[in-house]
């Protein structure tokens, strides 16, 4: 079975211009060669610190940003080099939900027009059926159809995010990229939106790429999780393996930062990273993480670890596992 979405060695570098003649002085390696796939009805969580390139990855695979290199395949078809016109049928199959529910809705359009615009653009239904379709979408995401005539500023944050979800659903997409879709919402509203997204997934067999930095939310919604650090995926596996037995020191540090209601609930010790994330303009040699890694060896400074299958279906990019798997990381150190 071909995957719904497949990304092969995707790179997105932003050139830095300097001086009068806009000389290219360097590259920000926001996304530096990532590969993954998402199956139908599956949620892949993409996590990492701010600035690790996870949002850029989401935007690049939707062709909102032109990829520097690599391939994007939807249902086995390569869309990397398609022009705007040829891309239109694929636009119907992949949609996006945004982080800021205040900026993602045009303040000058009514909620009904916002949700109905994709229907008009793609001519998926006759103009006289449009209102009916929009009303049905409103009902599906838990909004009263009477609110179609309201403007975004009349909605609460949670309601706005529901309008954004209705807009994304309008074209019956197969894949929805969620760019931190709940991180700007109150915790109580977060749960409602997450549950709505999961209900919709069951109903329409939707696939999600869920970009987030909140591991608790990711653990709840994802089937598989990919961890990004400085533009690269350092670990990727199913949710259970990742949260119970991380293979990469960075994942271990991230997980230990998740607050747990009971003391010692999972018997993990706290790993506190020192220093800041290095600049993606001049990433460190060898393993990008060696400057902050508590287990760094001489080899890590020179040799770049490949992302490989350390255990069955569990990918990690770390030299620690080169001579046999070390688990758990902390004890074996």
């Amino acid at each position: 079975m071909t995957a719904l979405l497949e990304i092969r060695d995707l790179k997105k570098h932003f050139p830095i211009h300097k001086g009068v003649f806009s000389r290219v002085a360097g590259q920000v390696r926001a996304v530096d060669g990532i590969s993954f796939h998402i199956d139908r009805g599956e949620t892949l969580g993409l996590v990492g610190e701010s600035g690790c390139g996870k949002s850029t990855a989401g935007r690049t695979l939707l062709r909102l940003l032109e990829p520097t290199s690599g391939q994007i395949l939807i249902g086995g078809e390569d869309i990397t080099d398609l022009d705007a016109k040829a891309l239109m049928p694929f636009r119907q199959r992949m949609q996006m939900i945004y982080q800021d529910p205040y900026a993602s809705l045009n303040p000058r359009m009514t909620a009904g027009d916002i949700v109905g615009e994709p229907l008009t653009i793609h001519r998926t239904c006759a103009p006289n059926e449009r209102n009916e379709r929009v009303a049905a979408l409103f009902t599906r995401v838990g909004l009263r159809p009477a609110l179609m005539h309201s403007y975004p500023h009349e909605f609460s944050g949670g309601q706005r995010q529901r309008v954004g979800i209705a807009r994304a659903l309008a074209l019956n997409p197969a894949l929805i990229v969620g760019d931190e879709p709940v991180s700007a919402l109150d915790v109580s509203i977060q749960a409602q939106i997450i549950n709505l997204l999961m209900d919709l997934q069951d109903e329409y067999k939707l696939s999600y790429l869920f970009v987030a930095h909140d591991l608790g939310v990711v653990e709840h919604i994802s089937h598989r999780v990919a961890v990004m650090y400085l533009g690269r995926i350092v670990e990727m596996t199913d949710k259970l393996s990742l949260f119970e037995a991380p293979l990469h020191p960075y994942t271990e540090a991230l997980l230990s930062a998740v607050p747990i209601p009971k003391s010692g609930a999972r018997g993990r010790k706290r790993v506190i990273l020192t220093g800041d994330v290095p600049s993606p303009i001049n990433p460190p040699s060898g393993c990008h993480f060696h400057t902050r890694c508590p287990y760094a060896m001489q080899r890590c400074r020179n040799e770049e670890p490949a992302l490989r299958e350390v255990i069955a279906n569990h990918l990690a990019a770390c030299h620690l596992h080169d001579s046999g798997v070390r688990l758990p990381l902390a004890k074996a150190g």
Partner: protein, 301 residues
């Protein structure tokens, strides 16, 4: 809809601002006087047959020999000054409105494209605007007017002169609009709702017109109002210099120029009243524009 407009912040601000109310009232009176001149004016100044040299240089009310049939006096040909002013305002306002409209359309189109496309397109268009801004706008208008008038055949010149003036003044004003629209577009195009439109597959021209434009139009209204004052003055200046509208279509500027000849011989009213009208008109428009700018700018509240 009407009650909503009445209760909006802007309407409330308007109702409670004496300057806004006074200038709006003044502008409205002048606008009505101009628009309904054929019905309101005591005489028809364009009708040469009704003019009598016997009536020439009648002084305005308050001076000896004045009467109510010519409240602001008459000029050297016996033309009623009040009527001439009312008909002159029509031309001045028409030229002002149309040239600002022209500048707005051109400015918005160039500003949107430059701001949305970015890169080399943006650089080229904005350098053109910058170069034009280094010249005083009246100089640009004079130049454009001169070049086009010279290119037109003699017979068509008078009939087309009003459009040439509108074009010349419009061209001299567009960079202001283009720069403002470009600036706001740069901010708007990076917002998520524009990205959402791109994900949906909305074509670029439609994103510019239906998403970005409604969100950048506010400042355009402000500089449009202020620009109207500038355009009216520019037209008056051109007409005063004699390169504006022909005497068959006298605007306020033309009237001021004619009357100027009699200023030192004592018939001051022929030029002073059109001049005062021009001042009041531009003052009312500018005060309205200033009020609109302050009312729409949240930082000044």
């Amino acid at each position: 809809m009407l009650t909503r407009a009445w209760n909006s912040d802007l309407a409330y601000n308007f109702r409670t601002s004496p300057v806004a109310l006074a200038s709006a009232a003044l502008a409205l009176i002048l606008l009505i006087a101009a628009a309904f001149a054929p019905w309101l004016a005591p005489h028809n100044p364009m009708d040469v047959a009704s003019l009598s040299l016997m009536d020439s240089f009648k002084p305005p009310l308050g001076m000896a020999d004045a009467d109510w049939s010519n409240p602001l006096g008459t000029d050297n040909q016996g033309r009623d000054v009040l009527s001439a002013i009312m008909y002159g305002m029509r031309i001045s306002l028409l030229v002002g409105f149309l040239s600002v409209l022209f500048a707005i359309v051109v400015g918005i189109a160039i500003g949107l494209v430059a701001g949305y496309a970015g890169g080399i397109t943006d650089t080229l268009l904005m350098r053109v605007a910058d170069v034009q801004l280094t010249f005083p706008s009246i100089l640009t208008a004079l130049l454009v007017d001169g070049v086009i008038s010279a290119a037109l055949p003699h017979t068509m010149r008078e009939a087309l002169q009003i459009y040439v003036i509108i074009f010349a003044i419009g061209i001299s004003l567009w960079p202001n609009f283009a720069r403002t629209v470009r600036g706001s577009t740069l901010v708007e195009r990076n917002k998520d709702y524009v990205m959402a439109a791109r994900v949906i597959g909305v074509p670029s021209w439609r994103i510019m017109l239906s998403h970005v434009l409604p969100n950048v139009i506010g400042p355009v209204m402000v500089i449009g109002t202020l620009g109207l004052g500038l355009a009216i003055i520019a037209e008056a200046t051109l007409s005063f210099l004699g390169v504006g509208l022909p005497p068959t279509q006298p605007s306020l500027g033309t009237l001021i120029r004619f009357g100027d000849d009699f200023l030192f011989s004592g018939e001051w009213w022929v030029t002073v009243f059109p001049g005062l009208t021009l001042i009041l008109m531009v003052l009312a428009i500018n005060l309205l524009g200033d009020w609109l700018r302050d009312a729409l700018n949240p930082r000044l509240r």
